[in-house]
């Protein structure tokens, strides 16, 4: 990798990671509801996999913010 990369500060990593987690959550919410619930036994809110994905990404964000 080029030498210019070694000049990148560490906090760039945190910013890229945060954008990455946010982007994955947004991408998940852009999946249609019918696609998410496809073949689900019922339409209960807890079966909305977009919520699961958002919780996962929120926890990841907090972990990388903390450490």
């Amino acid at each position: 990798m080029g030498d210019w990369l070694t000049g990148l500060p560490l906090w760039w990593g945190k910013v890229i990671a945060a954008v990455f987690f946010f982007g994955i959550a947004v991408w998940a919410w852009r999946r249609p509801r019918s696609y998410i619930y496809s073949e689900a036994p019922d339409n209960h809110r807890w079966r909305d996999l977009r919520v699961w994905a958002s919780v996962l990404m929120a926890i990841q964000f907090l972990l990388y913010l903390t450490f």
Binding site: L5, L8, A28, S38, P41, R47, L49, L56, Y64, F67
Partner: protein, 505 residues
């Protein structure tokens, strides 16, 4: 070190109970689909626990604890940014298309999407990789039984073969998945017990931080500087989070096979997604022990750092708990061995035997072939296991070799599902070009595998796009149910997908 008394009882009871429990599921196996895909009846919670049981092996305990001893909490990147986002991507993009296509293997899907050459290359790669890994796993299991129970190594290998072989050969994926559930529980109970006791000994989290930070100031930072030779933060993001991790979670046969056995599309997606929750706690089981060992004994150097976990078991745990943690150790190993065994048999039966040797035979025939191949792989693993002793770095070498193929495989799978214009020739040349790039950078230039993965992914992506644009588009009829846009918009295609899933077309 050998164990005795209550510890011995716990370990023996565990080793006897697992095959008996697994054998129970043999009565559900009547067809090839029952054997390789658990009759497509797995609920989401079984899939999720089986995925993590498959993912976490004894090497993770040893390697991750040793890595944490060396690099600190940055080792957790492999379980967090190097897994969780990719599992979301896999669950919501890749898994539904694999499941709806009604395939048994990832190479079979790629063969349907591109052509036979792509399927054969991928099948041979996965078939060879899974078979070799089996030998390494068997040797590790034999060594552990030898060291802790004091029985000769060849007896240890036979015991391992008997424990895993009995229920994997007879019960197939259903037995493997259900025993994985139990094994994951054992892993968590044993791992949490070790961590809690360790934290209590060092004075809690604050005591742990206070004892390590003065001598290792970066050990509680998830990202290490760019000049770190092993895990620089940019390599972690570009190579691990963007390429290797999605390649693993979206394209690894042993991981994906559990979701293919789901009872519905929703269960397949939910199984993969829910697996991310226990996955987030894995650092508590495998990374934290490395830090605890560093706090209690900062004098391990060189290769001895990889013995941080056994050191902790030997020096920290009282009678009873040592047996429980050893059982957790064995659970991690066995749950990886049975899954690898089952997946190796699936790939060789479906993608090699069924495609090139005996086509259109009866369902019963392929079920028997699957069982025979599983037995053959057990024998192979016993024979190959001692060979791995001659090459201590063989597991690392195989993982590195896998990383040479992972970037290109992920690139063509991503384009195959996400871009309808990708053609069979684009996929084939993209795969070949990506492998050529990664081989050159890895073997000739000696780059870190993290950067090799990134650039081979980019190279395969570019070649696939360029060649696809230069070649004739695939007919829509070939792409039905395999490409993202075509599934979402057309009711007729939904019918085709249902028929394909039901009929194994």
């Amino acid at each position: 070190m050998t164990i005795g008394g209550i510890d011995l009882f716990i370990v023996v009871a565990y080793l006897v109970a697992i095959p008996i429990f697994g054998m129970y599921f043999r009565k559900y196996v009547k067809t090839e689909e029952d054997y390789f895909l658990a009759g497509r009846m797995l609920p989401w919670w079984v899939i999720s626990m089986s995925i993590i049981g498959t993912n976490i092996g004894a090497y993770d305990y040893m390697g991750a604890a040793g890595g944490a001893y060396r690099f600190g909490i940055a080792q957790a990147n492999y379980e967090w940014i190097g897994a969780i986002p990719a599992m979301v991507l896999s669950a919501l993009l890749f898994v539904p298309y694999y499941w709806k296509a009604g395939v048994y293997t990832v190479p079979e899907f790629l063969g349907r999407r591109y052509n036979l050459a792509v399927r054969v290359i991928e099948a041979l790669l996965w078939g060879a990789f899974l078979a070799c890994v089996l030998g390494v796993f068997f040797w590790a299991a034999g060594l552990m039984l030898n060291e802790y129970l004091g029985i000769p190594i060849w007896v240890s290998l036979l015991v391992t073969a008997a424990i895993v072989g009995i229920y994997t050969i007879t019960g197939g994926l259903a037995a493997v998945a259900m025993t994985d559930v139990v094994q994951l529980l054992v892993m968590f109970i044993g791992g949490v017990a070790l961590t809690v006791l360790g934290l209590w000994t060092v004075g809690g989290w604050s005591g742990l931080v206070a004892s390590i930070t003065p001598t290792h100031p970066n050990h509680f930072n998830l990202f290490l500087p760019l000049d770190d030779p092993v895990i620089p933060w940019l390599g972690m993001i570009l190579g691990l989070a963007f390429v290797l991790s999605p390649a693993w979670w979206c394209c690894h046969q042993a991981i994906i096979q559990r979701t293919l056995g789901a009872r519905s599309e929703w269960d397949a997606k939910a199984g993969m997604l829910f697996a991310a929750f226990p996955k987030m706690f894995i650092p508590v089981l495998v990374v934290l022990p490395g830090l605890l060992a560093l706090s209690l004994n900062p004098n391990l150097v060189g290769p001895d750092m990889d013995r941080a976990f056994p050191w902790l078991i030997r020096n920290l745990l009282p009678a009873g708990l040592a047996g429980l943690v050893f059982a957790a150790f064995m659970a991690a190993l066995i749950s990886s061995v049975d899954s690898t065994l089952n997946s190796a048999a699936t790939v060789w039966t479906r993608d090699i035997y069924q495609r090139f040797f005996v086509k259109n035979a009866s369902d019963r025939h392929y079920l028997n072939v699957g069982r025979v191949l599983t037995f053959v792989f057990v024998l192979w693993a016993i024979a190959f296991a001692p060979v791995t002793k001659q090459f201590p770095g063989i597991y690392v070498a195989m993982q590195s070799l896998l990383s040479v193929f992972q970037g290109p495989t992920f690139a063509i799978t991503l384009l195959g599902i996400g871009w309808r214009r990708a053609t069979q020739w684009g996929g084939l040349f993209g795969l070949l070009a990506g492998v050529a790039i990664s081989s050159t950078l890895f073997f000739a230039a000696g780059w870190s595998f993290l950067y090799v993965a990134w650039w081979s992914f980019v190279g395969a992506l570019v070649v696939t796009v360029v060649v696809s644009l230069l070649t004739r588009p695939e007919p829509t009829s070939k792409l039905e149910g395999l490409v993202y846009g075509l599934v979402m918009k057309d009711d007729e295609i939904q019918d085709v997908i249902s028929r394909r899933a039901q009929g194994g077309e």
